[in-house]
Point group: C2
Chain length 194, copies 2
Amino acid sequence: MSKAEKTRQFIVEMTAPVFNEKGYAGTSLSDMTNATGLTKGSIYGNFASKDEVALAAFDHNLQQVTAIMAQETARQDTCRGKLMAYVQVYSNFLKHPFPAGGCPMLNTATEADDTHPALKQKAAEAILAWKDRLAAIVEKGIRNGEFSKKTDPEQTALTMIAMIEGCIMIAKLTGKMHYRNAIMQSVEKLIQAL
Amino acid sequence: MSKAEKTRQFIVEMTAPVFNEKGYAGTSLSDMTNATGLTKGSIYGNFASKDEVALAAFDHNLQQVTAIMAQETARQDTCRGKLMAYVQVYSNFLKHPFPAGGCPMLNTATEADDTHPALKQKAAEAILAWKDRLAAIVEKGIRNGEFSKKTDPEQTALTMIAMIEGCIMIAKLTGKMHYRNAIMQSVEKLIQAL
DNA sequence: TTTGTTTTATACCGATCGGTATATTTTTAT
DNA sequence: ATAAAAATATACCGATCGGTATAAAACAAA
């Protein structure tokens, strides 16, 4: 790993939480130099533009989330358990190394959907990949008799994502853990009923 | 209504969709002069700061949404019908005078939760008011025997909001109407099961 | 250790940022 | 119609924006 690659990685790691909290438009170059302790010259020696850093930062934030998810679902051997793992992680995401600023998909989606096509596409791909992963678990559960044959895998996946992301928004906004628990309990109920 | 009041109103109406699409940090004063055709002097003659316009713009966007909601729920006489009206409005919000840029609560919540306390509080109050309105409908439905006594009004309200807001995010991000329909169908199912 | 090459810092660019003092125009009340 | 008051436009403020040319420094290979 060359020095430049290390610095690139370092810049991404240090700016990723800033982008996730302040958003793309709200993060300035001086925010980036503050977060890294580097100068503009150094940053622009490793990235072509602020855009390029933002895209790499999103990838980094997303990878953090998906890594946690992969780890926690791998622990479970039943399909129901795997689905439940998502609820567990999001229910106490403070206990995991979750990106500061909350869910990067939600944050990026709402900011970029009318303003930043490249970021929007990255967020869209992330949501679709998540949906496919969830739907695959549901499908497997149907095949092995764990879930009812009447279950629609894609609909179940989309509904779970909507509930979880909506839950994150409400919980972060209001600061009420009680709300988060109530919604997550509904997700659990949904999974139990499959 | 004085000239100044009319201009204030005009500024809010013209900038509200811009704030909703580009966000607070992403909307500049030149965006505001472009949207209104007015000069900075004129805007600052009616508002103390960009902040003040943004807060008024949020109120305006929110009021548009709540007005549609109030109108559509008023049409229904059953509690189940009233809840279903929310699904209907959000399912085809293109047919209503919905603010450009999507749901102002979702947009403001995700942008402002780490950056703008005043906007964050406004968004939080809006979500809480919405929750209370939904919960009140559910409570009434329980009292008049329309819904099961085992239904938890607040949990139901929070779950509906999470699903709807998550649905908006996913649908706007991916552009797939099919996804929106799938999630909204899940909300319908939830309401049917009350 | 020296040399050539990367990498980083300094200094600067024009443009735009949010905001304001003041002059000019438009309303409003008489 | 006219004078006083209110609203709008012009011109400008210092600060910061994203970005770059270039010089200094750190690194790697010999």
